[in-house]
């Protein structure tokens, strides 16, 4: 019997979202099948992460980037060059009021310098304090008007400020963070849309975990979200998914334990990359349209995986 390829047809379609401006712009999403199962070749984008506070990052990053770690703009440039990433994420960890409590002005200056140093789209991550992030990402949105950056991320407690500033006043993209909660993912999208943010300007940050640390729940969440968007044509879940797995992957014992702690596990850097690649691969197969990693080797590996799958 000849082989007959059957393809599941869906009514729904994931929104196409453009990030970045001018020649640097890329678009994510747009697929009307589960990723890699259609023949349209929709390609997840791979981003590389940097931070303004690398103190708790693994030593291997000092070996790779040297003094650039102290200068986010120089680091950003080097990270994009070394990784070939499609976009860059800068985390403003120093803004955390429970940490360095760096001022909004200083952080905005950092972001502006980073943006000027790279020729790929930018994702700006706050410090994960809802109140501070509201002020911070609002000012970031203002300072980078026209650059079409992603504000990463709005949560239930600050979506009004971030949505109004980013999605409406200054024309940026708003990422909505739902921490592996499908109902909240839908709810935040509805709230942002009701506020007046256009669907095409919203990206979902549905959260993640490192593989081996409850990732099954992430996988089923992504599946539910994608099948609701595609199969049930649920417009409030047709936004592209962006996933930053770098913090989770480099925070688990497989990546943190030194060679002295666990000699039988081998090279620490390779373990970190391994955790990151395994997690990122699972996310892109599960539906992430944009995936963010820390290590240039992870970015290259995921890019080649995607290229290999798409053919």
């Amino acid at each position: 019997m000849p082989y007959k390829k059957t393809e599941l047809k869906f009514n729904g379609k994931i929104n196409t979202c453009e990030i970045g401006a001018g020649d640097a712009a890329i678009s994510i999403g747009g697929e009307n099948t589960l990723l890699f199962l259609g023949d349209e070749g929709f390609k997840p984008a791979v981003g590389i992460a940097i931070t303004d506070s690398p103190e708790d990052w693994s030593d291997c990053f000092t070996d790779i980037f040297g003094d650039d770690l102290k200068n986010p703009a120089a680091w950003a440039k080097a990270a994009v060059e070394k990784s070939g990433a499609d976009f860059l994420l800068v985390k403003l960890a120093s803004a955390d009021p429970n940490g360095a409590n760096n001022s909004v002005e200083n952080c905005v200056a950092t972001v502006v310098a980073v943006e000027g140093a790279i020729n790929v789209p930018l994702v700006v991550e706050g410090c994960k304090n809802a109140e501070k992030d509201a002020k911070l990402l609002e000012e970031v949105a203002k300072a980078l008007e026209g650059k079409n950056v992603v504000l990463f991320s709005a949560v239930e407690d600050n979506y009004k400020t971030i949505g109004a500033a980013g999605g409406m006043a200054y024309g940026q993209k708003v990422s909505a963070e739902s921490s592996v909660d499908i109902n909240l993912a839908k709810q935040l999208n509805i709230l942002l849309t009701q506020l007046g943010v256009k669907s095409k300007d919203i990206i979902m940050d549905v959260g993640s975990a490192a593989v081996g640390y409850g990732f099954e729940y992430v996988a089923s969440t992504m599946d539910r979200i994608r099948l609701a968007g595609l199969g049930q044509n649920d417009e409030s879940l047709q936004m592209p998914i962006i996933t930053n797995i770098s913090g989770e992957s480099w925070g688990v014992k497989e990546a943190v334990s030194t060679l002295e702690d666990a000699p039988e596990w081998g090279d620490q850097e390779a373990r970190g990359i391994g955790m990151e690649v395994a997690t990122a691969a699972a996310c892109v197969v599960g539906g992430s349209n944009a995936i963010i990693v820390r290590h240039p080797e992870s970015a290259k590996t995921i890019k080649s995986l995607i290229a290999g799958l798409i053919g």
Binding site: N183, K186, Q187, I190, Q194, I225, A228, Q232, N233, D234
Partner: protein, 261 residues
């Protein structure tokens, strides 16, 4: 399961405003009702041009084009006793958002509407009746089978027939309503899709009572597998019921704001 499909019933020549708009080829009242229904979540719009014995073909084409050009190729149920008008409407119909629905066939004089749907790769609403309301579920299932056979003989997919069990009016035939629910369950168990005009259930009841009856029947019918209905989507209570049932049946994902229409 896919979510419940709402066919908006409000573009109907029984309404004086719509009848006049058809006669004058005046788009405004029709577009207004289309817009309201789509905003209220209608998936399909029913376009009922009445018997349309004269000029039906041209009128249906005008209506189909009017709705699809203004509302992003919205899918339509073409509703008239004039078969030529339905065929003419399908000729100008854009399928990008869904197949046209022929409204409607039955197992009696109107069985050729199934042929019409088959010949035009359309869906069809198939009334499980021959002459008037079926007496019992033996009749309903017999007619359902006849219609199904007719469609399949002509190459239709079984899911392109939407079987209407014929809801009956509570005032006068209350004792038979459970049969209708049972028929929906039986048809669903055969892997087939169902639809129906819900408002008949509460016909003759006071205006403030009707939504209570309509919504309750709808919820009970959905539990039996009822998969679509021809209703007024602008009825807020009905819409709430559909969404709530779709959530309970896991057809759509819950979020706190889903009832903020």
């Amino acid at each position: 399961m896919s979510k419940f499909m709402v066919i908006g019933e409000r573009i109907h020549c029984i309404s004086p405003a719509i009848r006049q708009a058809f006669a004058d080829r005046n788009p405004d009242p029709i577009l207004l009702r289309a817009k309201e229904q789509l905003a209220a979540g209608a998936d399909y719009l029913d376009l009922n041009i009445g018997p349309a014995e004269r000029g039906g073909e041209e009128l249906m084409q005008w209506g189909v084009k009017l709705l699809q050009e203004n509302f992003d190729n919205v899918p339509i149920a073409l509703d008239t006793a004039n078969m030529k008008a339905i065929e003419a409407g399908i000729q100008v119909y854009n399928r990008s958002k869904g197949k046209p629905i022929v409204n409607s066939a039955d197992a009696g004089d109107r069985i050729e509407y199934v042929d019409l749907a088959a010949a035009n790769d359309a869906m069809v609403i198939a009334l499980c009746s021959k002459e008037g309301v079926p007496a019992n579920n033996d009749e309903r299932i017999t007619y359902c089978s006849e219609l199904l056979e007719r469609g399949m003989e002509r190459g239709m997919e079984p899911t392109d027939l939407l079987f209407d069990p014929l809801f009956i009016v509570i005032k006068g035939m209350q004792d038979q309503l459970v049969d209708v629910l049972e028929a929906i369950q039986m048809i669903t168990d055969m892997g087939l899709l169902t639809t129906g005009g819900l408002s008949n259930v509460s016909n003759g009841a006071p205006k403030h009572i009707r939504p209570i009856l309509d919504c309750s029947v709808l919820a009970m019918a959905m539990q039996c597998g009822f998969s679509s209905a021809i209703v007024n989507p602008c009825d807020k209570r009905l819409r709430e019921t559909i969404v709530a049932c779709d959530i309970i049946k896991n057809n759509i994902l819950y979020a706190d704001s889903v009832f903020e229409f």
